[in-house]
């Protein structure tokens, strides 16, 4: 189905930039609000095929919807296309992106009251550019295009943190930039290597992420252990390079250190986008690039990745326990939660994949909510020291209730979205056919306890207890703040109580990806069985 709707979706924010720059600065926020909302509405029209039974018919790659291929560069044997399309992996993320971006545009409404409120035009233009970059990355099916959009996100983020951020913004911004660029240069090497490897097979070469995974000869050659890259097996080197590129974005220990700094210094709406969407890009990269294209390496690395995921879960949670900065705590909780995503992907079971994907979405809802909740209180108190708060629920009952809901969703309380993701990942890990899977699942389950520990302790210190008098006069959440929180809260409950509606959007594609992986998994298990495992 050829459709230009995705291209419109991607470039609508760019049109918005033109308006933002042309109009006087005081209208910038309204224009941005309108455009992000329009993008959100437009993205809702994408629901249509995914609600139908035939949406996921056929193997991986054949059931892309709203696909569009336009030749972009065709020179000297290089074929680079404007190739966009969505399936069950990217579609929920696109909806998440448009929704969260709209909400954070709304959260930027108080721009003129910020400490640094210069150049609203610049802020909102970069904001919209960021949305273009993210949507483009999710929609791109051409690796070259994917790479371009991946980098397009970097610049706006750098400036959004660097210009409008907190006291240590310069440090945080350049750290974010350097880390992510380090990942992307690895990706660039892989991009070239994969292109020329595919050219060796087919003669013409391709950048299509789908063809890499589904073209029988290319896929075979990529995973051919005899194919070497500078003396190492091709698949493993590529997998590791791509994985490092993506894991920096997720972020996975030990490349996570940019995240707390970037989050703490970024303004609230940018933190929302950063946590809610940008982190998901790394996980999306695993699912779109690393796994379907290099199944053999994925199986080879499964153990290490599961352990890395485990480290993320436990380490992130332990760090949370040690934080007194409210925002930093939420940032570290993101690291812990993204550990579940990696773990779910690493075990390569149906339930694990579903859990990982669900966790991506659940975290995409709950973490922006948490950051916004922190932002609300920061706007009033101008500090984020957990130990100086207390009894906020008494002075701000509406805010307190929503905050509790948001943090419980993050905690993984049954009935809210976080629970489904975590439990699915744990179940998937436990049932995985790997010899190491059960101990890993048990340790990972311990992470849930730690999560409950730091969140409950935080809620107790901030929202419960005796109301301190300096906070007694605080106004409750305003109408705008409530309006921003309600959709996220509603989604958290909806996804927690009726997860099947969300699963239905993506399960088909996840199963397709697993089908691609299955031969490699079977081969690896045969080895385990043969060894008497």
């Amino acid at each position: 189905m050829e459709s230009s709707i995705l291209s419109w979706l991607i470039f609508l924010p760019v049109i918005g930039i033109v308006f933002v720059l042309a109009a006087p600065g005081r209208y910038a926020r309204s224009i941005t609000w309108l455009f992000t909302f329009a993008v959100f509405l437009l993205s809702c029209t994408l629901f249509d095929p995914f609600l139908r039974s035939w949406a996921f018919d056929g193997p991986y790659g054949t059931n892309m919807h709203f696909e569009q291929i336009v030749e972009w560069i065709n020179v000297g044997g290089f074929h680079i296309n404007w190739h966009v399309g969505i399936d069950g992996i990217s579609f929920p993320l696109i909806i998440l992106t448009t929704l969260i971006t709209w909400l954070s545009a709304w959260a930027s409404w108080g721009f003129d009251k910020w400490k640094i409120n210069r150049s609203p035009k610049g802020y909102f233009a970069l904001f919209l550019l960021l949305e273009t970059g993210v949507l483009g990355t999710f929609a791109a099916l051409d690796f070259f295009l994917f790479y371009i959009f991946w980098e397009v996100m970097l610049l706006p983020m750098y400036f959004l943190i660097g210009v409008w951020g907190g006291p240590r913004k310069e440090y945080a911004a350049i750290k974010f930039f350097l880390y992510t660029l380090a990942g992307s240069v690895l990706m660039l090497i892989a991009l070239l290597a994969m292109y020329f490897a595919s050219a060796d097979v087919t003669g013409t070469g391709t950048f299509s992420l789908i063809e890499y995974a589904t073209h029988p000869e290319i896929a075979k050659e990529f995973n051919n252990p005899a194919r070497l890259f500078l003396g190492w097996p091709f698949a493993k080197v590529m997998f590791v390079m791509l994985f490092i590129g993506f894991m920096i974005k997720v972020p996975i220990f030990p490349f996570h250190t940019w995240l707390p700094d970037a989050h703490v210094e970024a303004p609230t709406p940018i933190s929302m986008i950063l946590a809610g969407i940008l982190l998901k890009l790394g996980a999306y990269g695993f699912l779109r690039v690393c796994y379907p294209i290099f199944p053999s390496a994925a199986v080879w690395a499964a153990y290490f990745l599961a352990v890395l995921g485990l480290v993320n879960i436990i380490y992130g949670a332990l760090c949370c326990l040690a934080q007194s900065d409210f925002k930093r705590l939420v940032a570290y909780s993101s690291i812990s939660h993204m550990g579940y995503v990696l773990l779910g992907i690493a075990v390569m079971t149906t339930v694990g994949f579903q859990g990982a994907m669900f966790q991506i979405l659940a975290h995409g809802i709950s973490s922006p909510m948490c950051f916004f909740l922190v932002g609300v209180i920061y706007d009033r108190a101008h500090h984020r020291d957990i130990n100086r708060f207390g009894g906020l629920w008494l002075s701000m009952p509406r805010y307190g209730s929503l905050a509790t809901l948001g943090f419980f969703a993050s905690l993984g309380l049954p009935g809210l979205c976080g629970f489904i993701g975590e439990i699915w990942v744990l179940l998937g890990t436990f049932s995985a056919p790997w010899p190491w899977a059960k101990p890993v699942a048990v340790i990972a389950a311990f992470g849930v306890v730690l999560t409950a520990g730091y969140i409950l302790w935080m809620i107790q210190r901030v929202y419960l207890g005796k109301l301190r008098k300096e906070y007694a006069s605080y106004p409750d959440a305003t109408a705008r703040e409530t309006a921003i929180l309600i959709p996220m809260a509603a989604l958290a409950i909806f996804m927690g109580i009726l997860p099947s509606y969300t699963f239905d959007l993506m399960n088909g594609t996840l199963a397709d990806v697993l089908d691609v992986l299955q031969p490699a998994i079977t081969a690896a298990q045969d080895v385990v069985i043969a060894m008497g495992g």
């Binding site: 972009w72 560069i73 065709n74 020179v75 000297g76 290089f78 680079i80 210069r118 150049s119 610049g122 790479y147 371009i148 980098e151 397009v152 970097l154 610049l155 750098y158 400036f159 660097g162 210009v163 913004k169 310069e170 911004a173 350049i174 930039f177 350097l178 660029l181 380090a182 240069v185 690895l186 660039l188 090497i189 070239l192 290597a193 292109y195 020329f196 890259f229 500078l230």
Partner: protein, 550 residues
């Protein structure tokens, strides 16, 4: 006695135009006196004329090449092909832009304002003179002509570097430049004399053939030559000869002149040297290496391995050292001097991979040539933009240190935004042209074997290193505002910067394919790679000697 034919003379149209421009500027000065407007206008018109002739030339040439003064073995003194026309085009367009920059800076309140106006004639004569040297440099394979061209480029450049009279740094720059240039020229001439001594010819095509004859010890069944190991003397003399071009390109370890000269020279000259000098040096290097490789054919890889390794190591060192040295610079011109060294390193990498000339004989575009043509085109725009912005800040504030850029986003938003685009294009961030340039370069490197892949790794690592100091400038402009007053910049300057930035953005997006096609065309059917052996060496040398005696 040899006389040039009409065709041969017309093929040198761009060269004539440049020489004519020099004479015209002088005549203009004789008639109109010291008038900076007249001199500048003539230079600009001359540059445009040259560029137009080049564009006509590459249309007219098609897949042919033309040579002038066919001497030994049918080897011409000067060559006109797509490649040489392209480089002359680039240089003359750049000449026009530099002249425009000088015009814009004329109204700035600078201490040297009076001298600038008075000495404009000399400035333009020297500028066009060095451009002419560069034009010769990219269109010859003759050792003597190369040496003359390098000197013709260097001598005006020395004077231009010290053009700010009574300015200490400028004097220092000029002196350093001369000393360095003299030493490297000496090494180059030494290499040339060694080559001549061994192979009795001044032309690289003939030398290449002579090398094949010298090394051949048998033939394969397919008829190809089996070559002996190369002699050390041969490798040494080739590398020594290439050092002259390395100096122009400012490759490590011949880069020491670069930061000092860039800092001391006035900003127009800095801009000029940062692009034109490198472009010409690269054009020369490419041609020398490609000619040798083409003559050696299948044996090139083995015979020139040593040379290739030397160039590869130099390239890797050049970009790494350039990037790391830029970290601590606070003077913007120095900072971008090191940045230009780093970029020279990226481009040199392509020279290192030129040897396996797969399909070169068929006249297809060589990916390395094409990558360099593309890179230098984009690099011209980026560097012109960056130095243009530095110049405008300098004209307004009289300062060249990074502190003058603090808060520029408020003081002059247009300049700051454009500068950001140039900076990140230099880093190689998509969707800007710098990325496309880097991408094609890396693709060419990657496709050429293990050395190329290692160079790719060095290059992308350097991209990462370079981010920090480029971001530092962006950081000064956007993040650290120390309340300096807003600056006034000429409207034309803003417009020019905007056009440059737009062009870079378009190259990075819509024109990404077109510019590759363009550079493929410019680098297709090079004279050198098609010029395979036509005449045995003995005869060629004999003809040359006869010519000489006559």
């Amino acid at each position: 006695m040899w006389m040039p034919t009409g065709d041969e003379l017309s093929m040198l149209g761009p060269h004539w135009a440049l020489v004519g421009t020099i004479v015209a500027i002088l005549i203009g000065a004789i008639i109109a006196g010291r008038n900076w407007r007249v001199a500048g206008t003539i230079a600009m018109v001359g540059g445009l004329l040259t560029a137009g002739l080049c564009a006509l030339g590459w249309k007219g040439l098609g897949t042919n090449w033309a040579g002038m003064a066919g001497g030994a073995g049918g080897v011409p003194m000067l060559v006109a092909d797509q490649f040489s026309y392209f480089f002359i085009f680039l240089i003359s367009i750049f000449l026009v832009l530099i002249a425009g920059m000088w015009f814009l800076g004329q109204d700035a309140r600078l201490p040297e304002k009076l001298a600038r106006k008075r000495d404009a004639t000399e400035f333009y004569v020297l500028l066009v003179g060095s451009a002419f040297g560069m034009a010769l440099m990219v269109s010859t394979t003759n050792l003597l002509m190369i040496i003359i061209a390098v000197e013709m480029t260097s001598l005006p450049s020395y004077a231009l570097a010290g053009f700010r009279k009574k300015h200490r740094l400028a004097t220092e720059a000029s002196l350093k430049y001369i000393l360095f240039g003299a030493v490297t020229s000496a090494i180059m001439i030494y290499g040339a004399s060694l080559l001549y001594g061994q192979y009795h010819s001044l032309d690289i095509v003939v030398i290449g053939r002579a090398i094949v004859e010298q090394l051949t010890i048998g033939t394969t069944e397919a008829g190809g030559a089996i070559l002996n190991a190369p002699t050390v003397l041969m490798s040494v003399s080739i590398v020594a000869f290439m050092i002259g071009a390395m100096f122009k390109v400012s490759a490590v370890p011949f880069h020491f002149w670069c930061p000092d000269v860039f800092e001391g020279a006035s900003i127009e000259i800095t801009t000029w040297l940062s692009v034109a000098s490198k472009a010409a040096g690269l054009g020369l290097l490419l041609r020398v290496v490609a000619v040798l490789a083409a003559q050696l054919g299948d044996g090139a890889e083995q015979t020139l391995n040593w040379v290739r390794l030397a160039v590869a190591v130099m390239a890797a060192l050049t970009c790494t050292l350039g990037n790391f040295s830029a970290y601590r610079q606070t003077n913007m011109k120095r900072l971008f001097a090191f940045s230009s060294i780093a970029h020279a390193g990226y481009m040199l990498m392509a020279v290192a991979i030129i040897l396996p000339t797969g399909g070169a004989a068929s006249g297809a575009a060589h990916p390395a040539f094409s990558a360099i043509v593309l890179y230098i085109t984009v690099y011209l725009l980026m560097n012109l933009g960056v130095f243009g912005c530095i110049a405008m800040v300098y004209w307004a504030t009289g300062r060249e240190d990074i502190g003058a850029f603090n808060g520029l986003i408020r003081r002059s938003p247009v300049i700051a935004v454009m500068m950001v685009a140039f900076l990140f294009s230099l880093v190689g961030m998509p969707p800007l042209g710098g990325f496309i340039a880097k991408f094609w370069l890396l693709a060419a490197l990657f496709d050429s074997g293990p050395i190329g892949i290692l160079l790719v790794i060095v290059a992308v690592a350097n991209t990462l290193f370079s981010l920090y100091y480029y971001a530092r400038v962006a950081f000064a402009m956007c993040f650290s505002d120390d309340g300096q007053p807003a600056i006034r910049v000429p409207f034309l300057g803003q417009a020019a910067a905007t056009v440059c930035a737009l062009a870079i953005l378009l190259i990075g997006t819509l024109w990404a394919g077109n510019i590759k096609t363009f550079s493929d065309e410019r680098s297709s059917n090079l004279y050198a790679v098609t010029k395979q052996a036509e005449q045995p060496v003995e005869e060629a040398v004999k003809t040359a000697e006869l010519d000489f005696r006559e």
